[in-house]
Amino acid sequence: MTRTTPSGRIAAAIAVATAIVVAAPVISIITLAMQPAPDVWQTLIHYVLPRSLLDTALLLVGVGALSLAIGTGAAWIVSLHEFPGRRLLLWLLPLPLAIPTYLAAYVYVDLFEPLGLVHQTLTAWMPMQDAVRLLPTLRSLPGAVIIIALVLYPYVYLSARTMFQFQSAEFAEAAKTLGAGRWTIFWRISLPMARPALAVGTALVSLETLNDIGASEYLGVRTLTVSVFTTWLNRGSLAGAAQLSCFMLAIVAVLIAVERYGRRNVTTEFSAESPRLTQRTTLSGIKGVGAVIVCLLPVCLGFLVPLLYLAHQSFKRGLFANFDMALWRDAFNSIAFASLATSAALLLGFATILAWRWRPTRLRFVAMNIAQLGYALPGLVLALGLLAPVLAIDNMLNTVAASLGWSLPGLVMVGSGAAVVIAYVIRFLAVPTGFIKAGFERIPRDYDDSARAVGAGQATTMRLIHLPLLRPAVLGAVIVVFVDCLKELPATLLLRPLNVETLATSIYQYASRGSFEEGALAALLIVAASIGPVAWLTRFSDIPSGPA
């Protein structure tokens, strides 16, 4: 289609190299899993695996179903109806994305624990011992389902909203002329048409749930992720952990298949020209109030409650008054890791897509697809898999240095934090790749051809035509990756170097020592740093919310 040019070859080389780096941890995990771990397996098979498979399945189904209900409901209400407060809700509904799952877990356990805020409020009306029996047991599977779904529903909401928003009016109007009511239209027309988007959103929620370790561990749900963690760290078996990881990868493969299946018919339906959009129905009076309440509820529970609680704890402890130096250092580390990873992911994602756009060969197609697989790797599995190749490089560097008679550099990759950045890049590369791919799909190839006809080279076309048109996609990708990196816990926990904590790891440590409140300010910082980007993201909510 297009000639091979030097820049094209560079892009292709980067694309292939990227694919290799992304594939490395998976290959490494599979290699590790081939080692025997018989004594560990005895215990795992008898006592651990049945339970953790069941817990994982129940958690995924529960969180998926609840996020689906909240996300779809809210998206339908705000997309197809007009009522006072709607614009504010558009801005508010995605905000729970700024709350990491583990933070939500810590906050809700604190709120509902005996002698906690809720309990103390209840004791105003009844004796303490009666009140304590009314408290829900949040450290349980149902507790985990509710808490995790409350912060992850925006994935479904954002993709559902994209669909509802652009559903062309004809269908609904045709149905209306046939006498269908609003509910019938929702169940028979809107929902089936939005099914692909809902599948994509739910798959993302499931991947995030599977990735979670902080919340599940804290809430006492022994998912596969938690089992992998304890098998390696408490039972000392890397091979056993790798074998469990392979189970997780199998589950991920199923989730991806679901997502792909859901997306099979979504191409560029809403490309350059917009369809005639559905007129929003006006809800007035009690119905309008009802809509506001229904939409406000998930925002309050998934965002405002955690935020206010963290602020309250920080304030109460005078944490605002005496800033800790360590906190600034952690914040700086978080931002440094996240910025570097975001930049790298963006560059690599761009090169990968560009290689495919310029010359769609089979190899480049494969490379592009592999590059997007990292999102499916739970952070913990990724970190485990990355450890071997990264340390191999480190050891090789030392061997080389020794043979040259230089002083040994030590662990360069792990010691410098490069391993953390690499892990982030691999895990989140799918986001820029997906966003930019989607962005390119909206730029008709005619534009490229016209540019070439007037003698513009690839670079010029890129600069003058593609980049300006891709701006929203690139910005959206930057925001999503940056926020994801800030929140990332499991990989950071395992790969961070000496003397280095990020906001996420320091909160985790406070929480695992039972004094989460002392990390409240760090928690608040993560949320604060994420609010802006997430809110900004809503400006681009006509773009697929997650990696596409």
Binding site: H46, V48, V132, T137, G236, L238, A336, L387, G410, L498
Partner: protein, 341 residues
């Protein structure tokens, strides 16, 4: 694109600045991997640096450090691993990341019961696994560990996960004393007495007693002292309870160790040894005792008054090495009886 390039370049610079400060294996340093809370150990390390001029680099985590040292292999920067628990000491030995601590000072200061026979680890301080009993609802002054399985406590006991290292240590001590079959029976009995599914931490055990969820909670000695003296918000949790030092029938109280190992490939081995010896010294032992309310391992170092208020500690004479050998068995039993389910 220009904007983007500038952003990327700035980010890269920021990172270089951040990592420029990361430690190398230069002389005058010691690299410590620790499970202890940074806030707690930092005063110790600061004092050590002041005394010796040796800089201490720290990485702290709540799990996996010995596995990390193992993965890092011969190039690991780790010199010393500081644990909060005897289990992790054994984990480090099992992972093959230790080397014998050859020190006359340690041999003379740390009683043989609290050292590895092969010198692979040494205890630095002790904490006892005790009972936080409700002041209102528990009249007994003496309780044995065996008694925790007595049906009279049905629905009255709160405890954290049976797989947690502190409980693992206690259960392993039980196995060491009575064997697996009797330990399984005992664990089933304790499980039957629980007021709720094991959850939370040791502080929460006191809290749940205070809230009336249970009558006795199982926890370590120092949590109670910390809540009482250093945490106004949690003081009521401690105030609702009193600490009873339980014993085995005809034996003493189970103690757990905070200890150290010297890493197999320690790049600053001499400094590592210096730190270990210093930690067993009088000054460090005092800091431990007063800052974290632990029992000093060094004979003659005074116990903090709050801890002394629990009564006189008579430790379970079972050698820690024997307890350590039964950890896996204890962990498997917990899974087997479904203690945490």
């Amino acid at each position: 694109m220009t904007n983007f390039r500038a952003t990327a370049a700035t980010a890269a610079l920021l990172c270089l600045a951040a990592f420029g400060a990361s430690p190398a294996s230069a002389s005058g340093e010691v690299n410590v991997y620790t499970y202890r809370e940074t806030k707690l150990v930092q005063p110790l390390f600061d004092a050590f640096t002041k005394d010796t001029g040796i800089k201490v680099n720290v990485v702290s985590a709540s799990s996996g450090l010995e596995q990390r040292i193992k993965a890092e292999g011969a190039n690991s920067p780790a010199d010393v691993l500081l644990t909060v628990d005897l289990g992790r000491l054994d984990d480090a030995v099992q992972a093959g990341v230790t080397q014998p601590i050859k020190s006359v000072v340690i041999d003379e200061t740390v009683p043989a019961q609290f050292r590895d026979p092969d010198g692979q680890w040494a205890g630095i301080s002790m904490r006892a696994r005790v009972i936080y009993a409700s002041k209102d609802r528990v009249k007994q002054d003496k309780i044995t560990y065996e008694e925790l399985a007595d049906p009279k406590w049905k629905g009255k006991i709160c405890i954290r996960s049976g797989q947690h290292i502190y409980n693992n240590g206690l259960f392993a001590a039980y196995v060491a004393r009575y064997g697996e079959a009797k330990a399984e029976e005992w664990l089933k009995g304790v499980k039957a007495n629980l007021a709720q599914k094991p959850s939370g931490g040791d502080r929460e055990a006191a809290r749940d007693v205070a809230a009336g969820k249970c009558d006795i909670g199982i926890g370590n000695t120092y949590y109670w002292a910390l809540m009482m003296n250093n945490d106004p918000e949690k003081k009521p949790w401690a105030e609702a309870t009193r600490v009873i030092l339980p014993t085995f029938e005809g034996g003493g109280t189970h103690v757990n160790l905070s200890g150290v190992i010297l890493a197999k490939h320690a790049p600053n081995k001499d400094n590592g040894l210096k730190l270990i010896e210093w930690l067993a010294g009088d000054k460090a032992q005092h800091i431990y005792a007063d800052a974290n309310y632990e029992y000093p391992i060094r004979a003659g170092t005074g116990v903090n008054p709050t801890i002394a208020g629990y009564g006189k500690l008579v430790t379970d004479p079972t050698p820690i090495a024997k307890i350590v050998a039964n950890r896996k068995a204890a962990s498997t039993l917990v899974d087997k009886v479904g203690f945490d389910n």
